[in-house]
Amino acid sequence: MSERKQRTPMVPFPSDAIIPERDLGTRPVLDARHLGVEFGGLKAVDDFNLIIGRTEIAGLIGPNGAGKTTIFNLITKVYSPTTGTILIDGKDTANMNTIQVNKAGIARTFQNIRLFGKMSVEDNVKIGLHNKMKYSMATGILRLPAYWKTEKLMHEKALELLSIFDMQDMAGAIAGSLPYGAQRRLEIVRALATGPKLLLLDEPAAGMNPAETSELMENILKIRDTFQIAVMLIEHDMHLVMGICEGIAVLNYGSIIAKGTPEQIQSNPAVIEAYLGKRKEGDA
């Protein structure tokens, strides 16, 4: 399982990539192989294989309870997989914890927003910058010049990141008092502040109105283009998924039942039966 310690070849099994031709010749940012997890004998995820390219925007969709969030939890090591391997930028995560996974280049948001609600918006972003801009405990207590310099840089960087979503004016507000949509955006900014190579977004558009969603779509594209990172998102809003995802993987009962471009997914009979079929008269 942990035999493969060293760097893997570039895109070893293109068949596991959603769009094999994308980011060809570069090392994939995420390479999940035969991933599986059991909770009390119940297989929540079974033989999950997925490769994500360095600047790909990938969608993970599926009916409720299909195991989408569990995949995120496995990738970020909130849960440890029972079987399989996960490589982040070629590095095996078998012995990593959540913190090390983040340092290796993965940041995420949460389906049920997890902000530091009593702290200011700016502080939330600064916490994201925690490992990027450092000074020692003694420097902080003695207020040495490095403290003032780093704090100033952090402040500027935080405002710069907030300006992606045009939120720099809210920097002083208490995070918990923000409207729902703004809280979701702040969570993305906080995740971005950690300098990830792959951003995992868990239902980023949930609770947003159509105008906000369109804006979010533009912003996700902007983030990818500016920072040159990959984005993987879980979303029920098909307009968003079909609109910005280059590749889509469909999950049902913990396994991938289809993957491909939005067009391929929309015409895939298995997907229609498992997922889109039920949604036809609904919001899809």
Partner: protein, 351 residues
Amino acid sequence: MKKKTSKEFINNAVTYLLVIAAFLIVNTMKEAGMLTRSLTGQLIPICAYIVMAISLNLVVGISGELSLGHAGFMSVGAFTGAVVTASMAAAIPDPTVRMIMAMIIGGIAAGIMGVIVGVPVLRLQGDYLAIVTLAFGEIIRNVINCLYVSMDEGRLFISFNDPSLPGKLLINGPQGALGISKISTFVMGFALIIFTLIVVLNLMNSRNGRAMMALRDNRIAAESVGIGVTKYKLMAFVTASVLAGMAGVLYAMNYSTITAGKFKFDTSILVLVFVVLGGIGNIRGSIIAAAILTILPELLRSFNDYRMLVYAIVLILVMLATNNEHLKQWGSAFKRRLFSRHKAMKGGAEE
């Protein structure tokens, strides 16, 4: 933001000024002989309890872990300090320097104990952590009760459960530390409070303090942005232990003898009560609560039989009142009216 920094600055400045003003007033009254004997005797313990409350607030309020064994670290400092001052009496005749030395060494000893306790224990959460810190406090007390330290011709002898040591006994098992030179002064107590405030307030408002608060508010989110539980919980816990050790030195050097019984579970609870009544996470509140609640039983001396009963009732009533939904709503409505202009401005920004 400029605005936020200045708000924080003003908040801290008020705390420092409060402490300095209180010190100047009380010290003047003391010099003028306006304080009763019993109240004068309480000044150094008050300083020690204030330091205890501030440091426990770092653990409970900022780091968000319930510790019921804070007095254990105080006792480690107290007994270390007693040995240090006695053994250095010849080498360092100046009491102030000796006291500073004792505080440094006592703080380090308590800090080491903090690491020993913290590393295994901080993996537990919530009520389990509370019971284990309680257990550790009791263990420390039990062990000190069996500890014998003596000095003979400049050499220290330490034994466990065996009082037959050469020379003069400095720590005599259950009888505690004997023959302490009473070198604590009110000015030193004040200096220690200021030192504690600098450490705790600056730590709180630094990146490490933010990490502690992030872990407190949402552990999973904090881990997702690469902030590890153990490092920052330990940082808060050990810093608080060091400060508690220093408070222990200050406290012990105010008496000629001191026993481990002084640092029982009750003392830990007392300090926790200061923190909770002063407001969890509110440093200034801790200072005020510690000062008032240490003096209160003294002032209630005339009702000697009833004072602890009154104390208990007040404690329960305050908890019921501060957590009453109706009162809370009323309070926040009052605040809203007070700051309505400020709120309206912020509401505008949110649109």
